[in-house]
Amino acid sequence: MKKSILSGLKILLAFTLLTGMVYPLIITGIAQAVFPRQSNGSLVSIGQKACGSELLGQEFKSDRYFWSRPSSCNYATLPSGASNWGPTSDTLRKAIEMRKADFIRSNRLPLNTVVPVEMLTASGSGLDPHISPESAELQIGRITTARHFTTAQSQQLRRLVACHIEQPQFGCLGEKRINVLQLNRDLDLLR
């Protein structure tokens, strides 16, 4: 019996070393050697300066940029979070109404516009980096006005949005989407 207890302690020690130290160290070694960009957070830079991570959404408030989805933590990362409002939450109902009115007003859209549902609801992570292609297209007019784009530039912008559409992975997994940070970064480069 005593021997069994002692074995237990030793086994725990052995596995703490193996699965708690050696295993993450090996994975870190492989990751840093083979996929250094991904393992350090897929950072996006302008010149030398990191302006965020390709995978983490950011808040965009300016009329000059495409806006991300609503985030119940305002894109805070420590920690990020969701609203956890339920399907009969009155707070959620009001938030949806407000977001819809806001989106239509800010983008000067017709009142009967169907606003894509992801722009009315907050994401699970609070850091969703994507919006749907439809949501991006509805914002083009506002950005054209805010940036005083010529017709030629505005057509360039449309092409930019189109080439930022990511198709479902391998043609079938996930949804069509646009990475907002990458789109906005390229938007700044438009001449």
């Binding site: 069994s4 207890i5 074995s7 237990g8 030793k10 725990l12 052995a14 703490t16 699965t19 708690g20 295993y23 993450p24 090996i26 994975i27 870190t28 492989i30 990751a31 840093q32 083979v34 393992s39 350090n40 957070g41 897929s42 990191a50 302006c51 965020g52 991570s53 995978l55 983490l56 950011q58 808040e59 940029y65 990362t77 420590l78 990020s80 979070g81 609203s83 956890n84 409002w85 339920g86 399907p87 009969t88 939450s89 959620l92 109902r93 549902v117 992801e118 609801t121 699970g124 609070g126 980096p129 994507h130 919006i131 479902p168 992975q169 391998f170 079938c172 997994l173 996930g174 949804e175």
Partner: protein, 561 residues
């Protein structure tokens, strides 16, 4: 259309991988020579030598259980102690403080029992050291513990009047180094390739395009996420779990993580079939599990694509990620609740009432539909024993399973295993809804509030770990009560199942005759599903009526709270 392709791919991959992995696991736990014996054989022998384990020494059920309980207790002490001292220990670049005693208690029990309920957000609460050496280790060991119990039970079912069930240390060691660790290594590397972070550096500061500071949280995440999915653990490295882009960056990582939830529990049904010498028995159990899973999945998908008249939207994306969309969020929510995984890629609190109901109901069935690694199948065997017993009563014969008589002792033990968690769920929910401390943490009003509390206790008792996360549970009240639930849900099943293993091991096998009740055909499959759903359904129907069912009806009437 895309929805159906993704569903087909998911289930196709699951069905294809089940026999492949199942056969391999059989070789590993049977001690046969296999693919990885030449690679890791030295490690296995080294561990035995270092720990003073004689792999030939057999244990009876009491010795086996005794070793298991002590081992889990030591694991608990380490996880508890590391959290309480992490501020003074190395590998804490984000300088997180020590946790409170009740959070440490809850988290330690949570990870040792394979629940991985989280009252905290990892990025602001746990140091890298705690994540790796405490939580990460238990991700492996709690899964291996579940496997060990299953192995002992299987041996008990097939042995002919021998009391010995094998050696706990051997079953544990083999499970980790030949099954959990190698698959995790492969999986973790693929996850990093997709964008999951894996580093020991501290968090990085960046400046957004609009000039705001954004801290990029980092850490050794991929290694932990691989085992959290494979070991049906589910404890996220980050607070929002697999909704976080650093835990689950792409639809492909999502596909693999979903598959990993069900992979080992599904494969074990095949292993079981091989072990007891009848693949058909294994496929029958697999079939029963798959059918229950698919019914729930269908209901959830229907509910999620339908309009919500209370919020005036259709196909709600509240709590969901754009890259996954509805279908991947719902395959996940169904898989993670049938298996006792508990990781999430969408917030269950914001699911439509019926999808939330399915998630809860899946857990209420006792986590036997695929269930946890090992624990799902040994829980399922408790239901099999009950089904055989009930069928025996119907025809007036002494029930038997695999040629061994099922007597009152086994039925009593199986009933304890099935009812202990159920009693706990209802009693504790009743306490929480009638006390101030219980109601203080609510995030939603109306029937959804009851659902939040009911979900928490269901998740803890089922050792699942997913949550209606709006409920604030990092309080002494919830941390302690949920800890008790997790202990009952784990050891309230393990102890009676080990007793069954011991008593079955001592029984003689009688040969099959014309009067034998077959447990490998469609008739048995339907009976088994019936028993599972009736026990789950009847026990919890009143509570579910007041929560999600009522909410669904009120939502249809356009009401909000």
């Amino acid at each position: 259309m895309n929805t159906f392709i993704q569903l087909a791919l998911f289930f196709g991959a699951l069905i294809l991988l089940t026999p492949v992995l199942g056969k391999y696991i059989k070789k590993v736990i049977g001690g046969e020579k296999h693919l990885l014996t030449p690679v890791f054989g030295w490690l296995e022998r080294l561990i035995y030598r270092f720990c003073g384990v004689d792999p030939q020494q057999e244990m009876n059920w009491k010795q086996y259980l005794f070793a298991l309980l002590w081992f889990n207790f030591f694991g608990f002490v380490v996880v508890f102690a590391l959290q309480m001292t992490q501020a003074w220990l190395p590998l804490n670049p984000a300088k997180v403080p020590n946790t409170s005693w009740h959070l440490a208690l809850n988290t330690a029990i949570s990870f040792v029992t394979n629940t991985n309920w989280q009252s905290y957000s990892g990025e602001t609460t746990m140091s890298y050291l705690t994540q790796m050496a405490a939580l990460g280790v238990q991700n492996f060991l709690s899964a291996a513990t579940g496997l060990a119990v299953l192995i002992a039970l299987m041996k008990g079912l097939i042995k002919n009047t021998k009391q010995q069930l094998g050696n706990f240390w051997v079953d544990l060691t083999r499970s980790v180094i030949y099954i959990l660790l190698p698959v995790s290594i492969l999986f973790a590397v693929v996850l990093v390739n997709q964008g999951v972070v894996q580093t020991f550096s501290s968090y990085t500061d960046t400046t957004t395009l609009e000039g705001v500071k954004q801290v990029i949280p980092l850490g050794p995440a991929a290694s932990q996420i691989a085992i959290k999915q494979l070991g049906t653990n589910g404890g996220g490295f980050f607070g929002v779990n697999s909704a976080h882009p650093f835990e689950n960056p792409t639809p492909f990582s999502n596909f693999l993580e979903m598959l990993a939830i069900l992979l080992i529990p599904a494969a074990l049904t095949y292993t079981y079939g091989l072990f007891i010498g009848s693949k058909k028995q294994g496929w029958t159990l697999f079939g029963a599990m798959l059918i229950v899973l698919c019914i729930g999945l269908g209901v959830s998908l229907y509910a999620e694509y339908a309009a919500n008249p209370a919020l005036h939207i259709t196909g709600s994306m509240e709590g969901k990620e754009t890259r996954f969309g509805i279908v991947n969020s719902i395959i996940w929510s169904t898989s993670t609740t049938v298996a006792s995984n508990g990781s999430v890629n969408a917030m269950h609190d914001s699911l439509s009432p019926l999808a939330g109901l399915v998630a809860m109901f899946n857990m209420m069935l006792g986590e036997v539909v695929f269930g946890g690694v090992g624990s799902g199948l040994y829980g399922m065997i408790a239901f099999v024993i009950l089904t055989v017993f009930i069928a025996g009563l119907m025809v007036g014969r002494t029930p038997e399973y695999l040629g061994k008589k099922i007597e009152s002792f086994e039925v009593r033990m199986a009933l304890i295993a099935v009812l202990a968690p159920a009693v706990c769920i209802l009693a504790f929910t009743a306490i929480a809804v009638s006390t101030h401390a219980g109601l203080a943490g609510l995030n939603n009003k109306g029937p959804h509030g009851l659902s939040e509390i009911l979900y928490a206790f269901t998740s803890a008792c089922g050792n699942n770990g997913s949550a209606f996360a709006g409920l604030t549970t990092n309080t002494p009240f919830y941390n302690v009560l949920l800890s008790i639930c997790m202990l009952v849900g784990r050891f309230g099943v393990i102890i009676p199942m080990m007793a069954i293993a011991g008593s079955m091991a001592g029984k003689k096998v009688t040969p099959v005759s014309s009067g034998t009740f077959h447990t490998d055909n469609g008739m048995f499959l339907i009976l088994l599903i019936g028993v599972i759903i009736i026990v789950g359904g009847l026990t919890f129907f009143p509570a579910l009526s007041l929560g999600p069912i009522l909410e669904h009806l009120l939502m249809q009437a356009g009401m909000t709270f």
